[in-house]
Protein backbone atom coordinates (compact mmCIF):
# COMPACT_ATOMS: atom_id res chain seq x y z
CA UNK A 1 0.00 0.00 0.00
CA UNK A 2 2.48 2.53 -1.24
CA UNK A 3 0.53 5.73 -0.72
CA UNK A 4 0.14 4.98 2.96
CA UNK A 5 3.85 4.71 3.45
CA UNK A 6 6.05 7.75 3.57
CA UNK A 7 9.47 7.75 2.13
CA UNK A 8 11.87 9.29 4.56
CA UNK A 9 13.49 12.36 3.02
CA UNK A 10 16.71 11.86 4.86
CA UNK A 11 17.15 8.12 4.59
CA UNK A 12 16.21 7.63 0.94
CA UNK A 13 14.60 4.30 0.24
CA UNK A 14 13.51 3.93 3.84
CA UNK A 15 9.75 3.36 3.66
CA UNK A 16 7.90 3.68 6.87
CA UNK A 17 4.51 3.89 8.42
CA UNK A 18 3.95 6.88 10.65
CA UNK A 19 4.13 4.57 13.65
CA UNK A 20 7.47 3.02 12.75
CA UNK A 21 10.43 4.92 14.15
CA UNK A 22 13.94 5.43 12.88
CA UNK A 23 17.09 4.45 14.70
CA UNK A 24 18.89 7.44 16.15
CA UNK A 25 22.34 7.49 17.74
CA UNK A 26 23.00 9.49 20.84
CA UNK A 27 26.20 11.29 19.99
CA UNK A 28 26.50 13.47 23.05
CA UNK A 29 24.92 13.81 26.48
CA UNK A 30 25.18 17.03 28.50
CA UNK A 31 24.22 17.10 32.15
CA UNK A 32 22.31 20.37 32.57
CA UNK A 33 21.07 20.06 36.13
CA UNK A 34 20.92 17.24 38.67
CA UNK A 35 17.83 15.85 36.93
CA UNK A 36 17.98 17.19 33.39
CA UNK A 37 20.19 15.91 30.61
CA UNK A 38 20.36 17.08 27.01
CA UNK A 39 20.73 14.32 24.42
CA UNK A 40 22.13 15.00 20.98
CA UNK A 41 20.68 12.63 18.40
CA UNK A 42 21.88 11.93 14.88
CA UNK A 43 20.98 9.51 12.12
CA UNK A 44 23.19 6.38 11.91
CA UNK A 45 24.98 7.82 8.89
CA UNK A 46 25.27 11.28 10.39
CA UNK A 47 22.99 14.27 9.96
CA UNK A 48 19.49 14.86 11.21
CA UNK A 49 16.75 12.26 11.29
CA UNK A 50 14.22 14.71 9.91
CA UNK A 51 13.52 18.43 9.55
CA UNK A 52 11.27 20.17 12.05
CA UNK A 53 9.92 23.59 12.96
CA UNK A 54 10.34 25.29 16.35
CA UNK A 55 7.86 23.90 18.87
CA UNK A 56 7.38 20.53 17.20
CA UNK A 57 7.88 17.30 19.10
CA UNK A 58 9.10 13.79 18.47
CA UNK A 59 8.41 10.40 19.99
CA UNK A 60 11.49 9.00 21.67
CA UNK A 61 11.42 5.30 22.37
CA UNK A 62 13.60 2.88 24.28
CA UNK A 63 12.49 -0.59 23.15
CA UNK A 64 11.02 -2.60 25.99
CA UNK A 65 10.93 0.44 28.28
CA UNK A 66 8.53 2.90 26.75
CA UNK A 67 7.90 5.70 24.36
CA UNK A 68 6.98 9.30 25.04
CA UNK A 69 6.66 12.65 23.35
CA UNK A 70 9.45 15.17 23.90
CA UNK A 71 9.84 18.60 22.44
CA UNK A 72 12.81 19.10 20.15
CA UNK A 73 14.93 21.65 21.92
CA UNK A 74 17.41 22.34 19.15
CA UNK A 75 16.60 24.91 16.52
CA UNK A 76 15.81 23.88 12.94
CA UNK A 77 18.65 26.18 11.94
CA UNK A 78 21.00 23.62 13.41
CA UNK A 79 21.73 21.47 10.39
CA UNK A 80 23.83 18.80 12.08
CA UNK A 81 21.79 17.17 14.80
CA UNK A 82 18.74 17.39 17.02
CA UNK A 83 18.63 17.75 20.77
CA UNK A 84 16.19 16.73 23.49
CA UNK A 85 16.36 18.11 27.03
CA UNK A 86 14.84 15.49 29.27
CA UNK A 87 14.01 15.65 32.93
CA UNK A 88 14.17 12.46 34.95
CA UNK A 89 10.68 11.81 36.31
CA UNK A 90 9.36 8.42 35.18
CA UNK A 91 10.31 4.95 33.97
CA UNK A 92 11.36 5.95 30.46
CA UNK A 93 13.23 9.11 31.42
CA UNK A 94 15.02 7.21 34.17
CA UNK A 95 16.22 4.74 31.55
CA UNK A 96 17.22 7.44 29.07
CA UNK A 97 19.32 9.08 31.76
CA UNK A 98 21.22 5.80 32.20
CA UNK A 99 22.30 5.78 28.52
CA UNK A 100 25.68 6.94 27.29
CA UNK A 101 26.99 8.44 24.07
CA UNK A 102 26.98 5.89 21.27
CA UNK A 103 23.82 4.15 22.45
CA UNK A 104 20.92 3.82 20.07
CA UNK A 105 17.33 4.88 20.59
CA UNK A 106 14.28 5.03 18.36
CA UNK A 107 12.78 8.33 17.24
CA UNK A 108 9.76 9.17 15.14
CA UNK A 109 8.39 12.54 14.19
CA UNK A 110 8.21 15.43 13.89
CA UNK A 111 4.71 15.79 15.27
CA UNK A 112 2.37 18.64 15.97
CA UNK A 113 2.20 22.25 14.93
CA UNK A 114 4.85 24.88 15.59
CA UNK A 115 5.23 28.40 16.85
CA UNK A 116 4.21 30.76 14.02
CA UNK A 117 7.76 32.04 13.56
CA UNK A 118 7.26 32.73 9.89
CA UNK A 119 3.84 34.36 10.21
CA UNK A 120 2.36 35.94 13.34
CA UNK A 121 5.66 36.25 15.20
CA UNK A 122 7.58 37.77 12.29
CA UNK A 123 8.55 41.38 12.85
CA UNK A 124 7.32 41.33 16.45
CA UNK A 125 9.06 42.12 19.67
CA UNK A 126 9.14 38.85 21.58
CA UNK A 127 8.87 38.10 25.26
CA UNK A 128 9.80 34.55 26.30
CA UNK A 129 8.77 33.42 29.76
CA UNK A 130 9.87 30.01 30.98
CA UNK A 131 10.22 28.09 34.22
CA UNK A 132 12.44 25.07 34.82
CA UNK A 133 12.52 22.37 32.16
CA UNK A 134 9.99 24.36 30.11
CA UNK A 135 12.88 26.21 28.54
CA UNK A 136 13.29 23.09 26.37
CA UNK A 137 10.48 23.84 23.90
CA UNK A 138 11.27 27.58 23.93
CA UNK A 139 14.96 27.10 23.24
CA UNK A 140 14.23 25.99 19.68
CA UNK A 141 12.19 29.14 19.04
CA UNK A 142 14.71 31.42 20.70
CA UNK A 143 17.59 30.01 18.69
CA UNK A 144 15.53 30.12 15.52
CA UNK A 145 14.80 33.79 16.12
CA UNK A 146 18.39 34.57 17.01
CA UNK A 147 19.63 32.85 13.86
CA UNK A 148 17.17 34.91 11.83
CA UNK A 149 17.73 38.02 13.94
CA UNK A 150 16.72 40.46 11.22
CA UNK A 151 13.17 39.12 11.18
CA UNK A 152 12.32 39.93 14.80
CA UNK A 153 12.35 42.99 17.02
CA UNK A 154 13.57 43.18 20.58
CA UNK A 155 13.77 39.87 22.41
CA UNK A 156 13.34 39.53 26.17
CA UNK A 157 13.82 36.24 27.93
CA UNK A 158 12.53 35.81 31.47
CA UNK A 159 13.68 32.49 32.85
CA UNK A 160 13.50 31.14 36.35
CA UNK A 161 13.96 27.93 38.26
CA UNK A 162 14.11 26.56 41.79
CA UNK A 163 17.85 27.21 42.19
CA UNK A 164 20.83 28.26 40.14
CA UNK A 165 21.70 24.58 39.69
CA UNK A 166 18.33 23.93 38.08
CA UNK A 167 18.74 26.43 35.26
CA UNK A 168 18.79 24.48 32.00
CA UNK A 169 21.17 25.56 29.21
CA UNK A 170 22.85 28.04 31.52
CA UNK A 171 26.05 28.09 29.52
CA UNK A 172 24.29 28.97 26.29
CA UNK A 173 22.19 31.60 28.02
CA UNK A 174 25.18 33.33 29.54
CA UNK A 175 27.70 32.92 26.76
CA UNK A 176 25.54 33.27 23.67
CA UNK A 177 22.11 34.72 24.24
CA UNK A 178 23.03 37.57 26.58
CA UNK A 179 25.74 38.76 24.23
CA UNK A 180 23.49 39.30 21.22
CA UNK A 181 22.40 42.90 20.63
CA UNK A 182 18.73 43.56 21.29
CA UNK A 183 18.39 40.50 23.52
CA UNK A 184 17.78 40.93 27.25
CA UNK A 185 17.99 37.91 29.49
CA UNK A 186 16.37 38.14 32.92
CA UNK A 187 17.20 35.21 35.18
CA UNK A 188 15.66 34.50 38.55
CA UNK A 189 15.71 31.72 41.13
CA UNK A 190 13.15 30.92 43.80
CA UNK A 191 15.36 31.26 46.90
CA UNK A 192 18.62 33.12 47.67
CA UNK A 193 21.74 31.08 47.11
CA UNK A 194 25.49 31.60 47.63
CA UNK A 195 27.19 32.90 44.54
CA UNK A 196 23.96 34.16 42.97
CA UNK A 197 23.82 37.90 42.61
CA UNK A 198 21.02 38.03 40.06
CA UNK A 199 17.32 38.34 40.84
CA UNK A 200 15.64 36.15 43.46
CA UNK A 201 11.89 35.46 43.40
CA UNK A 202 9.23 33.60 41.48
CA UNK A 203 8.83 34.19 37.77
CA UNK A 204 5.35 35.80 37.97
CA UNK A 205 6.42 38.43 40.48
CA UNK A 206 9.63 39.12 38.56
CA UNK A 207 7.53 39.55 35.46
CA UNK A 208 5.50 42.25 37.20
CA UNK A 209 8.62 44.00 38.42
CA UNK A 210 9.95 44.08 34.85
CA UNK A 211 6.64 45.63 33.71
CA UNK A 212 6.79 45.11 29.96
CA UNK A 213 4.70 47.20 27.60
CA UNK A 214 2.22 45.38 25.41
CA UNK A 215 4.02 46.06 22.16
CA UNK A 216 5.21 42.47 21.99
CA UNK A 217 4.07 38.88 21.71
CA UNK A 218 4.57 36.67 24.75
CA UNK A 219 5.45 33.00 24.66
CA UNK A 220 4.81 31.35 27.98
CA UNK A 221 5.84 27.89 29.07
CA UNK A 222 6.19 26.31 32.47
CA UNK A 223 4.44 24.37 35.23
CA UNK A 224 0.65 24.94 35.40
CA UNK A 225 0.83 27.07 38.53
CA UNK A 226 3.42 29.38 37.00
CA UNK A 227 1.37 29.67 33.80
CA UNK A 228 -1.68 30.64 35.83
CA UNK A 229 -0.01 33.50 37.67
CA UNK A 230 2.08 34.72 34.74
CA UNK A 231 -1.01 34.87 32.61
CA UNK A 232 -2.76 36.88 35.29
CA UNK A 233 0.24 39.23 35.39
CA UNK A 234 0.28 39.63 31.63
CA UNK A 235 -3.44 40.42 31.66
CA UNK A 236 -2.86 43.12 34.26
CA UNK A 237 -0.13 44.60 32.07
CA UNK A 238 -2.72 44.87 29.32
CA UNK A 239 -1.78 41.89 27.16
CA UNK A 240 -4.61 40.42 25.11
CA UNK A 241 -5.12 36.65 25.08
CA UNK A 242 -4.34 36.70 21.36
CA UNK A 243 -0.87 37.97 22.18
CA UNK A 244 0.22 35.05 24.33
CA UNK A 245 1.26 31.59 23.16
CA UNK A 246 1.89 28.47 25.18
CA UNK A 247 2.26 24.71 24.77
CA UNK A 248 0.05 21.99 26.24
CA UNK A 249 1.13 18.53 27.23
CA UNK A 250 -1.07 15.43 27.56
CA UNK A 251 -0.49 11.70 27.43
CA UNK A 252 0.24 10.62 23.88
CA UNK A 253 0.82 7.28 22.21
CA UNK A 254 0.49 7.67 18.45
CA UNK A 255 1.45 11.30 17.80
CA UNK A 256 -0.89 11.55 14.81
CA UNK A 257 -4.29 12.23 16.39
CA UNK A 258 -5.65 8.69 16.24
CA UNK A 259 -5.01 6.91 19.51
CA UNK A 260 -7.35 9.28 21.30
CA UNK A 261 -5.69 9.97 24.62
CA UNK A 262 -4.62 13.57 24.04
CA UNK A 263 -8.10 14.47 22.83
CA UNK A 264 -9.52 17.43 24.67
CA UNK A 265 -12.59 19.07 23.30
CA UNK A 266 -12.39 19.06 19.54
CA UNK A 267 -8.59 19.19 19.56
CA UNK A 268 -5.89 16.56 19.60
CA UNK A 269 -2.91 18.05 21.37
CA UNK A 270 -0.41 15.91 19.43
CA UNK A 271 -1.73 17.03 16.05
CA UNK A 272 -3.48 20.37 16.60
CA UNK A 273 -1.01 21.39 19.30
CA UNK A 274 1.22 21.47 21.23
CA UNK A 275 1.35 25.21 20.47
CA UNK A 276 -1.83 27.08 21.32
CA UNK A 277 -2.69 30.74 21.62
CA UNK A 278 -4.36 31.50 24.94
CA UNK A 279 -7.66 32.45 23.37
CA UNK A 280 -7.66 28.94 21.84
CA UNK A 281 -6.81 27.37 25.17
CA UNK A 282 -9.67 29.24 26.83
CA UNK A 283 -12.08 27.73 24.31
CA UNK A 284 -11.12 24.19 25.35
CA UNK A 285 -12.90 22.28 28.10
CA UNK A 286 -11.05 22.50 31.36
CA UNK A 287 -9.33 19.12 31.15
CA UNK A 288 -5.66 19.91 30.67
Amino acid sequence: MAEAMHECKYNPGFMRDTLIPQVGIITDIRTETPDVKTFRVEAPNGGKLFEHMPGQCAMVCAPGVGEAMFSITSSPTNKLYQEFSIKRCGVLTEYLHSLKAGDEILVRGPYGNNFPVETELKGQNLLFIAGGIALAPLRSVINYCLDNRENYGQIDIVYGSRSADDLVQRKEIEEVWSKIPGVNVHLTIDRPQDGWDDHVGFVPSYLQELAFDTNRTAILCGPPIMIKFCLQGLKEMGFAMEQVYTTLELRMKCGVGKCGRCNIGTKYVCKDGPVFRFDQVDALPNEY
Partner: protein, 341 residues
Amino acid sequence: MYKISKENLNALYAAIAGGNDLFLPVKNAGQTNFGLWTESADVDIDTLKTVKSAKDIFFPQSESLYQVRRQDGKLEIQGEALREKPFVVFGIRGCDVKGMEVLDKVFLSDPVDGYYAARRQMGTIVSLACGRPETSCFCKVFGVDCAEPAGDVVTWLVGDTLYWEAKTKKGEALTEKLGNLLEKADTADVEKEKEKIHAIVERLPYSNLSLEKWGAAAADQNFDSPLWEQLYSPCLACGTCTFVCPTCQCYDIKDYTTSSGVQRYRCWDSCMYSDFTMMAHGNNRTSQMQRFRQRFMHKLAYFPANNNGMFSCVGCGRCVDKCPSHLNIVKVIKAFEKEGQ
Protein backbone atom coordinates in the same frame (compact mmCIF):
# COMPACT_ATOMS: atom_id res chain seq x y z
CA MET B 1 -29.67 -9.24 -8.57
CA TYR B 2 -28.78 -12.86 -7.87
CA LYS B 3 -29.96 -15.49 -5.43
CA ILE B 4 -28.82 -18.70 -3.80
CA SER B 5 -30.76 -21.01 -1.53
CA LYS B 6 -29.81 -21.16 2.11
CA GLU B 7 -28.82 -24.81 1.96
CA ASN B 8 -26.17 -23.99 -0.65
CA LEU B 9 -24.55 -21.35 1.51
CA ASN B 10 -21.74 -23.68 2.51
CA ALA B 11 -20.82 -24.08 -1.13
CA LEU B 12 -20.93 -20.30 -1.44
CA TYR B 13 -18.60 -19.87 1.55
CA ALA B 14 -16.23 -22.45 0.12
CA ALA B 15 -16.22 -20.69 -3.23
CA ILE B 16 -15.55 -17.29 -1.67
CA ALA B 17 -12.88 -18.74 0.56
CA GLY B 18 -11.12 -20.35 -2.42
CA GLY B 19 -8.05 -18.17 -2.66
CA ASN B 20 -9.34 -15.62 -0.17
CA ASP B 21 -9.67 -15.49 3.56
CA LEU B 22 -13.33 -15.31 4.47
CA PHE B 23 -14.44 -13.75 7.73
CA LEU B 24 -18.01 -14.28 8.86
CA PRO B 25 -20.03 -14.69 12.05
CA VAL B 26 -18.93 -17.92 13.74
CA LYS B 27 -20.33 -19.36 16.92
CA ASN B 28 -17.81 -20.46 19.54
CA ALA B 29 -18.73 -21.57 23.06
CA GLY B 30 -22.18 -20.07 22.79
CA GLN B 31 -21.21 -16.65 21.46
CA THR B 32 -21.09 -15.38 17.90
CA ASN B 33 -18.16 -13.29 16.73
CA PHE B 34 -16.48 -12.70 13.38
CA GLY B 35 -14.00 -15.45 12.65
CA LEU B 36 -12.19 -17.15 9.83
CA TRP B 37 -14.26 -19.60 7.82
CA THR B 38 -13.19 -23.23 7.83
CA GLU B 39 -15.12 -26.33 6.81
CA SER B 40 -15.80 -27.12 10.44
CA ALA B 41 -16.72 -23.56 11.52
CA ASP B 42 -20.14 -23.17 13.09
CA VAL B 43 -21.37 -20.33 10.86
CA ASP B 44 -24.17 -18.33 12.42
CA ILE B 45 -25.71 -15.63 10.22
CA ASP B 46 -29.00 -15.70 12.11
CA THR B 47 -27.67 -13.96 15.21
CA LEU B 48 -28.27 -10.29 14.60
CA LYS B 49 -25.35 -8.87 16.53
CA THR B 50 -21.94 -10.41 16.97
CA VAL B 51 -20.59 -9.62 20.45
CA LYS B 52 -17.62 -7.73 19.06
CA SER B 53 -18.26 -5.71 15.92
CA ALA B 54 -16.56 -6.38 12.61
CA LYS B 55 -14.07 -3.62 13.37
CA ASP B 56 -11.78 -6.36 14.69
CA ILE B 57 -11.05 -7.50 11.13
CA PHE B 58 -9.76 -4.13 9.95
CA PHE B 59 -8.42 -2.83 13.25
CA PRO B 60 -7.58 -5.94 15.29
CA GLN B 61 -7.79 -5.87 19.06
CA SER B 62 -4.06 -6.36 19.08
CA GLU B 63 -1.62 -6.35 16.21
CA SER B 64 2.12 -6.28 15.93
CA LEU B 65 3.59 -3.07 14.48
CA TYR B 66 7.26 -3.95 14.31
CA GLN B 67 10.02 -5.92 15.98
CA VAL B 68 13.18 -4.46 17.35
CA ARG B 69 16.21 -6.70 17.57
CA ARG B 70 19.30 -5.72 19.44
CA GLN B 71 22.61 -6.95 18.13
CA ASP B 72 25.95 -5.77 19.50
CA GLY B 73 24.25 -2.70 20.90
CA LYS B 74 22.73 -1.87 17.50
CA LEU B 75 18.99 -1.68 17.03
CA GLU B 76 17.36 -3.14 13.99
CA ILE B 77 13.72 -2.45 13.12
CA GLN B 78 11.64 -4.91 11.19
CA GLY B 79 8.22 -3.50 10.28
CA GLU B 80 5.29 -5.88 10.26
CA ALA B 81 4.25 -6.78 6.71
CA LEU B 82 1.07 -5.06 5.56
CA ARG B 83 -1.87 -7.12 4.41
CA GLU B 84 -1.31 -8.05 0.77
CA LYS B 85 -3.78 -10.87 0.36
CA PRO B 86 -7.41 -10.04 -0.51
CA PHE B 87 -10.10 -11.17 1.90
CA VAL B 88 -13.87 -11.07 2.17
CA VAL B 89 -16.07 -10.20 5.12
CA PHE B 90 -19.49 -11.75 4.88
CA GLY B 91 -22.58 -10.99 6.92
CA ILE B 92 -21.63 -7.58 8.25
CA ARG B 93 -24.69 -5.52 9.22
CA GLY B 94 -25.57 -2.01 8.14
CA CYS B 95 -24.52 -0.40 11.41
CA ASP B 96 -21.09 -2.02 11.29
CA VAL B 97 -20.59 -0.92 7.67
CA LYS B 98 -21.38 2.61 8.78
CA GLY B 99 -18.92 2.03 11.62
CA MET B 100 -16.22 1.44 8.99
CA GLU B 101 -17.01 4.84 7.51
CA VAL B 102 -16.39 6.39 10.90
CA LEU B 103 -13.11 4.51 11.29
CA ASP B 104 -12.10 5.61 7.79
CA LYS B 105 -12.40 9.22 8.90
CA VAL B 106 -9.88 8.51 11.62
CA PHE B 107 -7.44 6.10 10.06
CA LEU B 108 -7.50 7.28 6.45
CA SER B 109 -7.16 10.96 7.25
CA ASP B 110 -3.66 12.38 6.96
CA PRO B 111 -1.33 10.77 7.99
CA VAL B 112 -2.85 7.54 6.76
CA ASP B 113 -2.53 4.51 9.02
CA GLY B 114 -0.83 2.00 6.73
CA TYR B 115 -1.94 -1.13 8.56
CA TYR B 116 -5.60 -0.17 8.46
CA ALA B 117 -5.46 1.19 4.92
CA ALA B 118 -3.95 -2.02 3.58
CA ARG B 119 -6.74 -4.07 5.12
CA ARG B 120 -9.35 -1.68 3.83
CA GLN B 121 -7.93 -1.94 0.35
CA MET B 122 -7.72 -5.73 0.42
CA GLY B 123 -11.09 -6.33 2.03
CA THR B 124 -14.37 -6.84 0.20
CA ILE B 125 -17.46 -6.20 2.31
CA VAL B 126 -20.52 -8.34 1.81
CA SER B 127 -23.21 -6.84 4.01
CA LEU B 128 -26.41 -8.47 5.19
CA ALA B 129 -29.71 -6.69 5.74
CA CYS B 130 -31.26 -7.09 9.21
CA GLY B 131 -34.37 -9.20 8.89
CA ARG B 132 -35.18 -9.05 12.58
CA PRO B 133 -33.94 -5.81 14.20
CA GLU B 134 -33.56 -5.90 17.98
CA THR B 135 -35.07 -3.74 20.72
CA SER B 136 -31.70 -2.15 21.36
CA CYS B 137 -31.16 -1.09 17.72
CA PHE B 138 -31.35 2.60 16.83
CA CYS B 139 -29.33 2.82 13.65
CA LYS B 140 -32.12 4.81 11.98
CA VAL B 141 -31.22 7.72 14.24
CA PHE B 142 -27.79 7.88 12.60
CA GLY B 143 -29.06 7.56 9.07
CA VAL B 144 -28.43 3.87 8.58
CA ASP B 145 -30.99 1.88 6.65
CA CYS B 146 -30.65 -1.64 7.98
CA ALA B 147 -32.89 -2.89 5.15
CA GLU B 148 -30.39 -1.66 2.59
CA PRO B 149 -26.91 -1.56 4.11
CA ALA B 150 -23.87 -0.17 2.31
CA GLY B 151 -21.02 -2.46 1.22
CA ASP B 152 -19.42 -3.90 -1.88
CA VAL B 153 -22.14 -6.52 -2.06
CA VAL B 154 -25.47 -6.33 -0.27
CA THR B 155 -27.38 -9.48 0.63
CA TRP B 156 -30.83 -10.18 2.02
CA LEU B 157 -31.90 -13.38 3.67
CA VAL B 158 -35.57 -13.86 2.81
CA GLY B 159 -36.97 -17.14 4.02
CA ASP B 160 -34.63 -19.78 2.69
CA THR B 161 -33.12 -17.67 -0.03
CA LEU B 162 -30.16 -15.35 0.08
CA TYR B 163 -30.41 -12.48 -2.40
CA TRP B 164 -27.16 -10.98 -3.63
CA GLU B 165 -26.51 -7.64 -5.27
CA ALA B 166 -23.10 -6.22 -6.16
CA LYS B 167 -22.77 -2.49 -5.58
CA THR B 168 -19.14 -1.70 -6.41
CA LYS B 169 -16.39 -2.89 -8.71
CA LYS B 170 -14.95 -5.01 -5.93
CA GLY B 171 -18.35 -6.52 -5.40
CA GLU B 172 -18.78 -7.24 -9.09
CA ALA B 173 -15.40 -8.93 -9.22
CA LEU B 174 -16.39 -11.17 -6.35
CA THR B 175 -19.76 -11.94 -7.95
CA GLU B 176 -18.06 -12.88 -11.18
CA LYS B 177 -15.74 -15.25 -9.38
CA LEU B 178 -18.67 -17.17 -7.96
CA GLY B 179 -19.98 -18.03 -11.43
CA ASN B 180 -22.85 -20.44 -11.55
CA LEU B 181 -23.39 -20.71 -7.84
CA LEU B 182 -25.61 -17.65 -8.03
CA GLU B 183 -28.66 -17.58 -10.21
CA LYS B 184 -30.42 -14.54 -11.59
CA ALA B 185 -33.35 -13.28 -9.55
CA ASP B 186 -35.90 -10.49 -9.68
CA THR B 187 -36.19 -7.89 -6.97
CA ALA B 188 -39.81 -8.40 -5.88
CA ASP B 189 -39.07 -10.49 -2.78
CA VAL B 190 -36.32 -8.15 -1.66
CA GLU B 191 -38.55 -5.10 -2.06
CA LYS B 192 -41.18 -6.77 0.07
CA GLU B 193 -38.54 -7.68 2.68
CA LYS B 194 -37.33 -4.08 2.81
CA GLU B 195 -40.85 -2.85 3.45
CA LYS B 196 -41.25 -5.41 6.22
CA ILE B 197 -37.98 -4.32 7.83
CA HIS B 198 -38.89 -0.63 7.59
CA ALA B 199 -42.17 -1.36 9.33
CA ILE B 200 -40.34 -3.06 12.22
CA VAL B 201 -37.80 -0.26 12.48
CA GLU B 202 -40.66 2.19 12.99
CA ARG B 203 -41.77 0.17 16.02
CA LEU B 204 -38.35 0.05 17.68
CA PRO B 205 -38.38 1.92 21.00
CA TYR B 206 -35.26 3.99 20.27
CA SER B 207 -35.84 4.70 16.59
CA ASN B 208 -36.97 8.24 17.23
CA LEU B 209 -34.26 9.51 19.55
CA SER B 210 -33.62 13.18 19.02
CA LEU B 211 -30.08 14.34 18.33
CA GLU B 212 -31.11 17.97 18.46
CA LYS B 213 -29.01 18.60 21.56
CA TRP B 214 -25.92 17.10 19.94
CA GLY B 215 -23.53 17.79 17.11
CA ALA B 216 -20.74 20.32 16.82
CA ALA B 217 -22.47 22.98 18.93
CA ALA B 218 -22.80 20.59 21.87
CA ALA B 219 -19.03 20.67 22.41
CA ASP B 220 -19.47 23.86 24.40
CA GLN B 221 -23.05 23.51 25.57
CA ASN B 222 -23.13 20.09 27.18
CA PHE B 223 -19.72 19.89 28.75
CA ASP B 224 -20.63 21.57 32.02
CA SER B 225 -24.06 20.03 32.38
CA PRO B 226 -24.90 18.74 35.87
CA LEU B 227 -26.47 15.70 34.20
CA TRP B 228 -23.10 13.98 33.83
CA GLU B 229 -22.74 13.70 37.58
CA GLN B 230 -26.06 11.85 37.77
CA LEU B 231 -25.53 9.73 34.68
CA TYR B 232 -22.10 8.32 35.40
CA SER B 233 -22.54 7.11 38.98
CA PRO B 234 -23.11 3.37 38.39
CA CYS B 235 -20.25 3.21 35.87
CA LEU B 236 -17.82 0.46 36.85
CA ALA B 237 -14.98 1.85 34.74
CA CYS B 238 -14.70 -1.35 32.74
CA GLY B 239 -14.10 -1.22 29.00
CA THR B 240 -17.02 -3.30 27.78
CA CYS B 241 -18.78 -0.46 25.94
CA THR B 242 -15.63 0.61 24.16
CA PHE B 243 -14.57 -2.89 23.18
CA VAL B 244 -17.89 -3.96 21.70
CA CYS B 245 -18.34 -0.60 19.96
CA PRO B 246 -17.88 -0.55 16.16
CA THR B 247 -16.51 2.99 16.19
CA CYS B 248 -14.35 3.27 19.32
CA GLN B 249 -10.84 3.49 17.98
CA CYS B 250 -8.60 4.56 20.86
CA TYR B 251 -5.53 2.43 21.11
CA ASP B 252 -2.44 1.85 23.15
CA ILE B 253 1.04 1.05 21.89
CA LYS B 254 2.98 -1.34 24.09
CA ASP B 255 6.12 -3.42 24.15
CA TYR B 256 6.38 -7.11 24.69
CA THR B 257 9.82 -8.44 25.51
CA THR B 258 10.68 -11.79 24.00
CA SER B 259 13.84 -13.83 23.94
CA SER B 260 14.78 -12.41 20.55
CA GLY B 261 13.96 -8.77 21.02
CA VAL B 262 11.07 -6.47 21.61
CA GLN B 263 7.76 -6.72 19.87
CA ARG B 264 5.90 -3.46 19.63
CA TYR B 265 2.20 -3.97 19.31
CA ARG B 266 -0.87 -1.86 19.45
CA CYS B 267 -4.04 -2.90 21.14
CA TRP B 268 -7.42 -1.42 21.84
CA ASP B 269 -7.56 0.83 24.84
CA SER B 270 -10.48 2.44 26.57
CA CYS B 271 -11.07 6.01 27.66
CA MET B 272 -12.96 4.46 30.58
CA TYR B 273 -9.71 3.27 32.17
CA SER B 274 -8.04 5.45 34.77
CA ASP B 275 -4.57 4.95 33.31
CA PHE B 276 -5.66 6.03 29.83
CA THR B 277 -4.47 9.60 30.28
CA MET B 278 -2.01 8.97 33.13
CA MET B 279 1.35 10.67 32.70
CA ALA B 280 4.49 10.81 34.82
CA HIS B 281 3.32 14.12 36.25
CA GLY B 282 -0.35 13.29 36.79
CA ASN B 283 -3.66 12.69 35.14
CA ASN B 284 -5.77 15.29 33.38
CA ARG B 285 -8.99 13.32 33.82
CA THR B 286 -8.97 12.28 37.44
CA SER B 287 -12.58 11.22 38.01
CA GLN B 288 -14.72 8.57 36.39
CA MET B 289 -17.30 11.26 35.66
CA GLN B 290 -14.77 13.05 33.44
CA ARG B 291 -13.88 9.83 31.65
CA PHE B 292 -17.53 8.91 31.16
CA ARG B 293 -18.28 12.38 29.82
CA GLN B 294 -15.29 12.21 27.48
CA ARG B 295 -16.64 9.08 25.79
CA PHE B 296 -20.04 10.50 25.01
CA MET B 297 -18.86 14.02 24.25
CA HIS B 298 -16.38 12.53 21.83
CA LYS B 299 -18.99 10.46 20.03
CA LEU B 300 -21.74 13.03 19.94
CA ALA B 301 -20.01 16.41 19.92
CA TYR B 302 -16.26 16.47 19.29
CA PHE B 303 -16.29 13.96 16.45
CA PRO B 304 -19.13 15.68 14.56
CA ALA B 305 -17.36 19.02 15.02
CA ASN B 306 -14.30 17.65 13.23
CA ASN B 307 -16.11 15.57 10.61
CA ASN B 308 -18.86 17.68 9.06
CA GLY B 309 -21.49 16.61 11.52
CA MET B 310 -20.93 12.86 11.24
CA PHE B 311 -21.58 11.19 14.60
CA SER B 312 -19.22 8.60 15.96
CA CYS B 313 -22.10 6.36 16.97
CA VAL B 314 -23.97 4.16 14.53
CA GLY B 315 -26.77 2.95 16.76
CA CYS B 316 -25.79 -0.71 16.81
CA GLY B 317 -26.98 -0.97 20.42
CA ARG B 318 -24.17 -3.25 21.58
CA CYS B 319 -23.41 -1.05 24.57
CA VAL B 320 -27.10 -1.08 25.40
CA ASP B 321 -27.03 -4.87 25.53
CA LYS B 322 -23.67 -5.37 27.18
CA CYS B 323 -23.08 -2.71 29.84
CA PRO B 324 -22.85 -4.49 33.21
CA SER B 325 -24.58 -1.54 34.88
CA HIS B 326 -27.08 -0.94 32.07
CA LEU B 327 -25.68 2.49 31.29
CA ASN B 328 -25.61 3.45 27.67
CA ILE B 329 -25.65 6.13 25.02
CA VAL B 330 -29.47 5.95 24.75
CA LYS B 331 -29.85 6.95 28.39
CA VAL B 332 -27.40 9.80 27.84
CA ILE B 333 -29.18 11.11 24.76
CA LYS B 334 -32.58 10.85 26.46
CA ALA B 335 -31.39 12.59 29.62
CA PHE B 336 -30.26 15.59 27.60
CA GLU B 337 -33.42 15.51 25.54
CA LYS B 338 -35.56 15.76 28.68
CA GLU B 339 -33.39 18.43 30.24
CA GLY B 340 -34.47 21.15 27.83
CA GLN B 341 -38.18 20.53 28.30
